[in-house]
Symmetry: C6
Subunit: 270 residues, 6 copies
């Protein structure tokens, strides 16, 4: 079962602050109809970036989250029972292909391999989607663009993007934003005062810069926003940081204690 | 097949004694509509805590126990045969989403990965559940909240909560309560006299504090209550402890004997 | 497919000779509605013990043998074809829940994990069985009790009873009975003279007391009864012991020879 | 899919020459309704022994060959399509249970574990077969007897007969017959002259007595009969031995050559 | 899905040149109705040998190629949809059994184990095929013969022919033919001049005799014929050898270069 | 689900520049009806080569991309639901067989093994496709030719082309074209000026010639064309190379930095 969300171009501009030339590369790829591969850690803003580009380019966006049980039928569609009859229901990829939207396949590497192969004819000059169950081929409407993402930080011997897939994509690497931008993002998304946002971002960078860190992932912008939201919900800053940042990063008592002491040292004594 | 239980807010207040600031964190998360992750050992009271919070917040509670064969269809729903016709039956998660209840997914890490992905759109600003089999998306009713739990003590290379899931949740760590609270809990739940409860809690803490313990899990509050219940059912204290605590903790003859000697030393000679 | 047997309380009292306080513990658990976990080696009388307790307590008994392909549907029920129509057929667990009987799940650890989870709501204060395929929940009738068993002697890395399951159960450990009781059991079950029973039990204990024994399991009471039955069927004692005890315990020629010599030394020269 | 063969008691007595007390043990077990486990190498005559006993006891014999894909449905039965309708077709075990025949499950250890469990209630005092798909239980007709076999020479970590299964059976070990009996068997079965049979049996025993033999299995009585049949079909003895014995025992060129030289030395120069 | 081909006895005699006494052994086995096991490397002529014997004996030949997904249903048959109705379609083995043909199961070791078991009753004195899905047993028509093959050169821990299967078969080992015969075969099959065939066979034997060869398989007669066919199609000899022999044997640049140099040294400078 | 594309011979000649004698070998194989195996790295032009040969030979081309879930039904066809009825739909291989086209199975090694077996009767003198589900055999129309490809650079213990498959095919090895040809290809395909193409090819060869390269695959012609397309889409050369070449080749920060420095050194300062 695929987890999908389709959105028409929003009236409100999605909030995204570019850090490098990611928007220029995306525009050039879009102009040439080339598929894009986004690389970056959890919670650094990949989804927001795609939302912002879809808005700027005026195209519908369809998001699909990959997982290890996902097959090509989850993308392309299947016959479903509706009122006693079997009717064909387009999958999210097929809907994007027909409507000329942007189809964003998040962490597609997790999916079963037949899904990566189904996107090949969409990712080269053919720009068409074979729908074997219907015995037809759907040409991509103008404006259709494929975007996929993965997190290079996950170590996996079993799940690797195939070279023959990867070399079809223009690659853009995203990371956490620099402090001045991250402060603005946290303050805005969590609806907290600038000094709270400042404290959270200072802590986030202190954790990211820990030498010889035993953490699998660093504290993402997303966890900083979560901590800010708890503050906005009435919790004090230290309890919010403990719940949204410290306890989220590790289960090891020693690491949790060390992160707690770091938070005590960095956060204002309020 | 999912194991689910749905309960309307009870007239009687569920018995739960808070140990730290877990209730404040839960309230702030609930106020902001943020999902919660509970961490803690078997039998420490995670379920009771959620029941108490659901009661305080006046919301229905739906509990689902995860297991390694559980798929997203167990959460979302499926077509079933009823009287010769196929009818759609909402899964427990969908019911919680429609009614604005709290959905508590116990040990969700055990489930197949497609279940963790299906909860992502419910665990961020989208707050919606895609039901692919019906071709629709169900927006979460006001009051819907997602709570998941897992036991960090289980060592598992294969089953880990994904970072991209984990960083969406506010995390609360629960442990065994301090002696004065645990005595009250055991006496009340097992309906035994205070001195019996006192003896059981003293034993429980003696076992938990064993140095270099070879036990996978310590004696939980739940096993102490079980021992108390046997006493309330007419068994003498030592036989009750042997059946509900000692034999439950290990199959190794040496460890069973050592635990028995510890129980002899700690329990009153009655 | 589940292997089940349901029996109404028998007119004749099943033959079981208690060795320790197992009956008292079972009665107290039964009085409090607590589930019971039986631990012990193959053929030591676990099933007989449950039969005797069911008889004493006046409740129907349903026995289910676990195996590695058993799923929760084997316990709960499924839709079957009968005369061209699909009809729901309760599984053995559901039948026990409805009738207030004792459901004995033998070696449930072998079954797939979803079966252990399906019994959780029956093994705590909820006492109810969710039947997802029917979209209903069946409350346990008064008198329903869950009994499970496993053999701690089997070494298995893959199959372990989960702590969160185990700590819900009152545990009773059973072993082989002492000689005077075992003699009575063998004589009665195999319908042989006391001196034959005596010889068999003497041999059984000689094998169990072998130092540094390479056998995976010792000679159980069951194998001694089997040998006695062969004698009752006309075979001489030594041939009966060779067929029912020696050859049943090992395929290794050296061990078979050693066990044969031990039998020659212990058994009367007839 | 199960491979089965059912035979009414034959008019002609099947040819079997007893070597030890295997017939007495079988008769005593049969008299008491006890199940039998046959142990022995490939091609030593296990099937013939069962055929002979079935004939002597005047009971129908049903043979089922186990394999790693065999499930309990292959033994018990299933619904099949016949002329557009689904009808229940008894499996071979169910047929034997209904007719009071001997059911011989050859190498049942290979089958999936649910098959060994399905035979438990038939292998103890219950003597009944639960047929879950029909929702019924079939009591064993008088005369029904279960016989299983396996080859202890196969080393398998994965496939072992469970102790709780094994200790339900009376065990009989069979081996290759002594030379004087094996000569008679080969001469009769292959329809060759005594001196040919003598040469083949001499060779067979020379191979079996090879010290430090690298062969997984020795040359069985079956392969000696096969070689005899080729001679009866017109091939010379040495070519027959090469095709039916030497090439059947190994693919290793060195071993094949050594066995060939052994054959040259042992066989008459004809 | 099984890959099968059925051929009536051809008018034209298939071209096969016997190397040893393989034809005599096959005739004796055929005369006695005994099954045959062919051993030998890829492309040495196993299929041709069976075709030639089937022609000589005047029987239809059905060939089935084994693979790791092949099940007994692929051999025996299944119900298929035809014009909206389900009709039974005999598998290739069943067709051979009914028509009294030779059924050649190529590399049957690759198939799932239930296929090897299904052939047991056809490979001994019973000579019958149980068709469980139809609930019937098909007796083998006179003339039916089972032939299986495998390649001992493939090292496989997982896939081994079971001893209880193997010892039912008369075994014939085939290898590459001696040069004078192989030259004739290549010239005839590829329709090339004798000197081309001579050059190819010389090269083939030079490769087969490489000491310490790192090749998994040597250059088979089949690859020499393929090279000859390219020459007959207009390619020069060296390019043909490079494409059909050198590049077919290895992907390792060093080995490819070494084989190329060997070819340059052995082949006429044309 | 198979990913297929069928194309009638194009009016426009597909652009392909031969590097060695690959076209001659292909023509000879085609003339003789022999199957072809293409070996070479990702993005070196295997598909283009087949397109060009199909055009030159005037035959329709059907392309199928292999993946690890692909089964023989994906190639041969299956019954599908259309308007409530089940109709047979030919798979891509069957369509090619009927129409006498070229069927190009890209990376067929990835597919399940039953797919490689299904092509055997098409890859030798039989030239026919058994369609078991229909119970028929389809003879290959004149002109039918099988072409398969794989990438020897992928190290895989699990997935190897079987020798018995491989030795049926004429093998052609393709590599990256020499600079003067690659420049022409890049300029033409990406529609960039010769100096841009020259810079890209120079960089590509510098990367390919890195000593002790840690890259799994080198920069293919395809990635150079991709970079060129970004330039044609308005991006500057260095950003285009970073997105299409550097970030596509590695996720390792050190390698990405080293490749970036190499690009800075090789590319014109623009």
């Amino acid at each position: 079962m695929a987890t999908t969300a389709m959105s028409r171009p929003e009236a409100r501009t999605p909030f995204y602050r570019a850090v490098g030339d990611e928007a220029e590369v995306f525009r050039a790829a879009s102009c040439q109809g080339l598929p894009v591969l986004l690389k970056g850690p959890t919670g650094c803003g990949k989804t927001r970036f795609v939302e912002a580009m879809a808005h700027e380019l005026g195209r519908p966006l369809i998001t699909v989250a990959g997982h290890e049980d996902m097959t090509s039928a989850d993308l392309v569609g299947r016959f479903l029972l509706k009122g006693g009859e079997t009717v064909w229901v387009d999958g999210p990829l097929t809907r994007a292909v027909r409507t000329g939207g942007i189809c964003y396949l998040d962490e597609i590497v997790e999916a079963r391999q037949d899904t990566t192969v189904v996107i090949h004819p969409l990712a080269d000059h053919r720009r068409e989607l074979p729908v074997d169950r219907l015995g037809t081929t759907v040409p991509a409407a103008p404006g259709f663009q494929l975007v996929i993402s993965y997190n290079p930080g996950y170590q996996s011997v079993l799940k690797n993007i195939k070279e023959s897939t990867r070399q079809r994509f223009v690659a853009i690497e995203l990371g956490f934003p620099p402090p001045e931008i991250e402060r603005e993002v946290v303050a805005r998304e969590a609806a907290v005062a600038p000094e709270i946002a400042n404290a959270l971002v200072t802590l986030g960078n202190a954790i990211r810069n820990l030498e010889g860190s035993p953490l699998r992932e660093a504290s993402s912008t997303r966890t900083l926003i979560l901590a800010g939201s708890l503050v906005a919900g009435g919790l004090n800053l230290r309890a919010a940081v403990r719940a949204a940042v410290v306890q989220a990063l590790s289960d090891d008592p020693d690491i949790v204690r060390a992160l707690g002491e770091l938070a005590d040292a960095v956060l204002p004594s309020s």
